[in-house]
């Protein structure tokens, strides 16, 4: 899986693509977690993410917890239907804000 990021003012925008599963979880957790210390307002573009497993959900949970502890904000956007379904069935959409697009995500975390 690939992770790239850019800054938009005080918000870090991550773009994830590929599969977030047990193979990718450790590196994704390290990459995303490192961003929390510097800029606890994160928006994550998942439009390129084809698949997320339980290991991937754990990455998101750990990240969301760190952001909360840092008094920051987190929003996801651009979820493909299959990925959106995983967030819905697991109830993660009640813990992590899911926004329809980048503008809404940025507005949420600012």
């Amino acid at each position: 899986m690939d992770i790239v990021h850019e800054k938009d003012g005080d918000v870090v925008i991550f773009r994830l693509s590929g599969r977030l599963d047990s193979n990718a979880a450790a590196s994704a957790e390290a990459d995303l977690g490192a961003a929390v210390a510097g800029a606890p307002s994160l928006a994550i573009d998942l439009s390129g993410l084809d698949y997320i497993s339980s290991a991937g959900l754990r990455v998101m949970l750990v990240l969301a917890r760190k952001v909360q502890q840092a008094s920051g904000k987190l929003a996801l956007f651009g979820l493909q239907p299959a990925v959106r379904q995983v967030f819905t069935v697991s109830g993660f959409d009640t813990i992590i804000s899911i926004q329809p697009d980048a503008a809404a995500a940025l507005a949420h975390v600012r």
Binding site: S22, S53, A55, L61, Q85, V86, S90, G91, F92
Partner: protein, 218 residues
């Protein structure tokens, strides 16, 4: 830090009698099996999605219980393609009596329980839960109360423990009746968050339904 199998074995032990709480044998096996699968997931040996559970690494964990459970999931060539989570639970549940016996032995060996005339009793009169990890020296019970009674986002291990406590219907060990009533929506929210936990809860509910039906029909 205790494994989920060891934590669950403790949960299922009645403090007063020193014996396992009364629940259908198949329900007991399901919860222990679920705990073993959750341990394997935390060790990155299995992964799950909405369709199936897949063994992603056969490398031994060094824990005899977990390595045996891993072997149960890797018996046939087609197992490499994954299996329904409920099938995985059923397979591992066949060994649950062995796992809980081994877990009890470990808990005695590490000084949490003592064996007395066939009963397993806590070493200390006041029930003390082991710490959840090295970062936070709080009792597990206190940590779970904090998660259940606030909007604090749990860590993955908290989620698994809440799933297991709820599946065992032992939430009253953590919350008062008043707190339990108020926290029901929160418990439902959190117990959905682990896909193995969801499958365990579904299986236990089905077993209890069958058990109640059979009992009332007898």
């Amino acid at each position: 830090m205790l494994s989920f199998v060891e934590e669950t074995t403790l949960l299922l032990l009645d403090d007063d009698s020193g014996e396992f709480v009364d629940m259908p044998v198949s329900g007991f096996g399901t919860v222990i099996a679920g705990a073993a699968l959750m341990d394997l997931a935390m060790h990155n040996r299995v992964d799950t999605d909405l369709e199936k559970l897949t063994v992603v690494s056969k490398e031994p964990t060094g824990d005899a219980i977990l390595d045996d459970a891993l072997a149960q999931l890797s018996q046939k060539p087609e197992d490499a393609e994954g299996m329904r989570i409920l099938e995985a639970i059923d397979r591992v549940a066949l060994k649950s009596q062995d796992y809980s016996a081994e877990a009890l032995k470990r808990l005695v060996d590490c000084g949490i329980l003592r064996q007395d005339s066939g009963r397993f009793l806590w070493m200390f009169r006041t029930r003390r839960y082991p710490v959840i990890d090295n970062r936070e020296e709080q009792e597990v019970k206190a940590r779970l109360r904090q998660i259940l009674l606030t909007d604090e986002i749990p860590d993955p291990r908290d989620v698994v423990l809440i799933c297991l406590v709820a599946a065992c219907e032992l939430m009253e060990l953590i919350l008062t009746p008043e707190e339990l009533a108020a926290a029901e929506p929160r418990i439902e929210q959190l117990r959905k968050m682990d896909l193995i936990g969801q499958a365990v809860a579904k299986a236990v509910r089905e077993i209890e339904f069958i058990f109640r039906y059979a009992t009332s029909a007898a």
